[in-house]
């Protein structure tokens, strides 16, 4: 799978970081909202469930999971 994020929508709620810390981090920015950063663009299959939950529970629909 391949992960893409739409940073324009990210408000830094950090749900992804809570669900899949191996794959996502949230970085403070000067002034505005913190922003997600993807640590593993192609995470291993073993992390699929965590990644799918991160995408599903992101309150701002920032994360899209594509199939390779």
């Amino acid at each position: 799978m391949k992960i893409t994020v739409d940073l324009a929508l990210c408000q830094g709620h950090s749900v992804c970081l809570g669900e899949a810390p191996e794959v996502f981090d949230v970085i403070e920015q000067a002034g505005g909202y913190p922003q997600v950063t993807v640590l593993l663009e192609h995470p291993p299959e073993a992390l699929r469930e965590k990644v799918m939950k991160a995408a599903k529970y992101c309150p701002n629909n920032v994360i899209t999971v594509l199939e390779d």
Partner: protein, 448 residues
Amino acid sequence: MKGSSVASLKVPQKVSGEKPGVGHMEEFGVNFARFLMRCNAECGELAEFNMGGQQTVLMSGPQAQEAFLKTLDPKLSRAAAYQATVPVFGRGVIFDATPEKMKTQLKIQVDALRYQNMKHYSTIISKEVEDWVASWGDEGELDFLDEFLRLTLNTATHCLLGADFRYKLTEEFRQLYHALEKGLQAIAFVDPYLQQPIFEARDEARERLQELIGGIIAERRAQSGVEHSDALQTFMAGSYADGSQLDDNEITGLVIATIFAGHHTSSGTATWTLTELARQQTYSNEVLHELQGLFGNGEPITFESLREIPHLERFIEEVLRLHPPLILLMRRVMEDIDYNGTLIAAGKTVAISTFGSHRNTDYFPDPERFDPHRPKPDTLYAYIPFGGGPHKCAGSAFAMMQLKAIFAALLPRYEFELVDPDDSYQDDFSAMVLKPAGPCRLRYRKRR
């Protein structure tokens, strides 16, 4: 939306029925949700009407709504459209702050709603719900409009200001809060500084509330070392780019803004959810069985156990489709805009209607029918109870968590039925935040 320089652009079609002096204000005032649907039906994607002198363009359909939600300052301004909130939230707070400060204040507000804090809030909410039902007994009858207003004000103050403040929640606080609420009626969107008793009461309440909250802040700063995990603590810890912290006025403003964003919206939705659970027996049984499976053996209601409850989630989402608490979202046009060949001129207001969007038959066939199983639209901009785009409601996850906590606790224990005739439970369109017209009476009986 592009900036415009072309002289050959079209202009939005005007809605019929405009009256001299007041424009469409009268019809808007009777039932603004239906008025906006008429605008869309008559004029299509862009419909221009007159709000007591303010030319307003309603943008309808997912494409136009996406453009609205994604076009940001300095082209479309939220601050200019929401000046009515300034005397309520306070000078220098959010829509009265410089763009840089506003950005930081909103970021600090989201800090209080982050994943880590939500776990703590779900514990608080579960406790509040338990304390609430403790006195119910085996059966009875309640006006749930009133009950949910009280419950959600308790949860909001508890999560925001901590247990100390919540349990000392005095009659004075309720009155101050009520005075602020009354300061945000429709007339405030025409001019929030008119000489009016409601606005004088609003200003006095704002001042007194800052004394109260300032008192807690001073107390906490004096007793350093004590950990608090409420939103106030997050607001106190936040800082601007130059390292300076928020002052008492700004912290008070963020507290008020956060309560206002979450209180009536949540209580109205909770009331409608319970009403629909009593009305829609088939779907409500699905939710009941799901909750019995998850919590039937006394499993605790926690952040983790609340996260995934699909039938309840879809049920609440359908409630939010039919009864979106905030119907009208607005922006002021700061620079001429070319929307697909139509000029939307600077100085006008643009608006979208969640209520109308949720009744768009292209995406929601037979729209008035309550059906949690209807397929989700393939766009993010047709179903918009929390808005969308970069400024989407920051409290959406909190709101869903709170609603799930309430019904996960209530439904397995009690059954509910309407007291009054079914068709007497209707939306009240006289308030800025949609809710059922009160009272909203239901009978409850303990399940065996």
